[in-house]
Symmetry: C2
Subunit: 439 residues, 2 copies
């Protein structure tokens, strides 16, 4: 039970659970929720426990309710392009199953090899492909959920369109277990996209890279991936694996296009990168090379963790999403925050969406180092809000950012959140304290 | 006030309003809602009054609150591809303003020349382009709403992604004025798409056309438009204008592709139509011809109204959305319903989305004719639900289908709807009776 009491958040507390239920069926979930309701016991729904904000962490006296073992594909409808799954299935496993039928479920969070679809829905997970293909919510047509009192209900619809009633399906997407437990989902799928072309551009500083992103996205062309890595991140990657990236540069952009116009898209990207001061732009249409490059990009978090472990173990991960045009200003602000708080901050970003992930490192055994990191964390959240952004683009609130949610939402919205939470979960047993806990 | 008491629904009752407020500003809306809240008076929010289910109809003793005069474009952000507008702006006017900057707001309900963006959001309006570009909800990033007690709040976010809190923005999209009044919206826009190629295929019966749609969509290719017209609709169009359509056929499909692969898309469509028994397939890359054809398609409702006026004036419009693969079966069921109820039913459909609009004609002065039409209406709704569909793909519930919503939603969902409505609008003054009135 101890092992099931915390997700992958590095800096979130967790409590002492009463019990762990490993549900194998919808009936198990219904029975658990009824019991919890009858005894007014808090329930923490859990999937693959890969969240990084403590959303699935135990709280004192709770029932941990894992749906990880409910991992079947219930139906693939290749004609209507939908798939119906249980919530415990791992994102990458679903992708593999669909690929056999030339179908794809696009959302690809960094955690896709280890995170579950139920967790992806509960956090409205994003990823690298969002810049073209959108986020989890865009693919969820219908869900079955068990409400706090144990009632099983169906929200949304299986059809391409539908406006019958309030959009309660979207309300539950991203609700982080605070309204009920997702036990089944029907997702839209698409035809498997073709292999992309890839361009890699390097820049003297973050500024030129950010300006390139803003200018390229303003053309209206939709890359299938547009990732940013700052110089520190490139260095940490080279330390992690023998990747041989040019770590003398200030920033790097990886751009892909899987459109029929990929060749001209990549050409246009090159022009814009060069206009904005790129040091170098390279291309590849070699699938193996491209996959290796994206795999390298997906090593950023392990590389950051390796660095953290050898520097006192502390890491705070941000998830600021800002308007793309504000990215140069964001990096200016970040430079000041680094200076003022004496912190090392590495930045990777889903740049096409303006979704940045600064990682703040600190020595967990040094209270002053931790305090500096926390100060930087707060200042970055403030900076993001000041630039018209949000405190979380895709990771969610969990327990780590619950206090910050009150800064982003206005009083009317906070009240609405409380009223709706109370209406759906009057006993307050559905993942209490998480996301909405400070509102 | 009488003129402002009913929308374009042909068969919805309306009551006697107390007052009509023509708001010119957010403050006007706030003041009106505060007054209504203090006096527990029902408020019916209104845009351009073009809905067809009575959603904006007066109820006895209500305040009609029109935001039609709030029609400014507040900001166009061409770099970040967003536009911020007041709710009263007409959809087509917004499109025109954006086109000057090579930008587009895709959602294109049949009513786009006359309907307002606020109304489009309140009903989550669809249209012809949805098959590729999605519905209104997919473009709404942030809204400002005035809650039933007069509180102004901001829901959603302006950034490309964001998961801070519950998705209350989506909850208000499609809520038909039952939760509050939308007073501002920030919408995602895209680069103006290129001119499409067009193909027109004719078929001996609806069956071959429906099978073509299902097979073409299963390829994963995304047409930018895929419309179905049955033989009766084609005849009514020819009677309405001198369109010269071949009205000896059983059905017609209009397909467009604006993709870089348009030429091969149209070719593939032709192959599939021929494999499925098309009588004829014609193409066009002539912009004027294509626009004329789509303008003809957009005449379906006026053509139907002309027919209705010369046949007793009655028309019931359905909005069933079903899985595309169920369309052949749907037409079988429809044929039986026609026979059993002795009704004339013309069908147009956004076929790529499985969204069908059967129009049932009747003599409004003949109670038996009306009873037959109502029987057909109910049977078609039943048929849609039986085939895994929804009673409304894009028109909404309003007052006309409120009773039917109880059939589509299960008990858990109905309860959730009631709880959330009561939480947000405890006095029940926001468009009472509409959409949620029978739950």
């Amino acid at each position: 039970m101890e092992a099931a009491s915390s997700d992958m958040a590095l800096n979130a507390d967790y409590g002492q659970a009463l019990a762990l239920v490993r549900a194998k069926s919808v009936d198990d979930v219904v029975a658990t929720m009824r019991f919890a309701y009858d005894h007014a016991l808090p329930v923490v729904p859990q999937g693959a426990m890969t969240g990084i904000n403590g959303g699935a962490n135990a709280i004192d006296g709770c029932i941990l309710l894992s749906v990880r073992a409910m991992d079947r594909v219930l139906d693939i409808d290749a004609t209507n392009h939908t798939v119906t799954v249980e919530p415990g299935i791992i994102n990458a496993d679903l992708k593999k199953t669909l690929a056999e039928q030339n179908l794809a479920y696009p959302p690809d969070p960094g955690s896709m090899a280890i995170s579950s679809i139920g967790g992806n829905i509960a956090t409205n997970a994003g990823g690298l492909c969002c810049v073209k293909y959108g986020v989890t919510r865009d693919y969820v047509r219908e869900i079955k959920v068990v409400l706090p009192d144990g009632t099983l209900t169906r929200l949304g619809r299986k059809t391409a369109k539908g406006v019958a009633g309030l959009d309660l399906c979207s309300l539950f997407v991203g609700s982080e277990g605070t309204l009920g437990v997702i036990v089944e989902a029907t997702l839209e799928v698409i035809a498997l996209p073709p292999e992309p072309l890839t361009a890699v551009a390097t820049f003297p500083t973050e500024h030129e890279a950010a300006a390139t992103v803003s200018a390229y996205m303003a053309t209206g062309l939709r890359p299938s991936l547009l990732e940013f890595l700052d110089g520190i991140t490139i260095n940490l990657l080279n330390n992690f694996g023998d990747f041989g990236l040019d770590d003398s540069v200030g920033a790097m952009l990886i751009m892909q296009s899987d459109a029929p116009t990929a060749a001209s898209d990549v050409e246009r990207f090159t022009e814009i990168a060069e206009e904005n001061g790129a040091l170098d732009v390279a291309f590849s249409d070699n699938t193996a090379d491209n996959e290796a490059l994206i795999a390298t990009r997906r090593c950023v978090q392990p590389a950051n963790e390796l660095y953290a472990r050898s520097h006192g173990g502390g890491q705070l991960i941000e998830d600021i999403c800002i308007p793309r045009s504000a990215m140069p200003e964001f990096f200016d602000g970040l430079a000041e925050i680094r200076k003022e708080t004496h912190t090392t901050i590495a930045v990777v970003a889903h740049a096409g969406d303006g979704n940045t992930h600064p990682s703040i490192f600190y020595d967990a055994k040094d209270p002053q180092s931790r305090a500096h990191a926390e100060e930087a964390f707060e200042q970055i959240l403030d900076l993001g809000l000041r630039l018209g952004g949000t405190i979380t683009g895709e990771h969610g609130i969990g327990s780590v950012k619950a206090r910050w949610l009150t800064k982003e939402l206005d009083e009317g919205s906070r009240r609405l959140h409380r009223e709706i939470k109370n209406a759906v979960d009057p006993l307050g047993i559905a993942n209490p304290g998480k996301m909405l806990g400070a509102l």
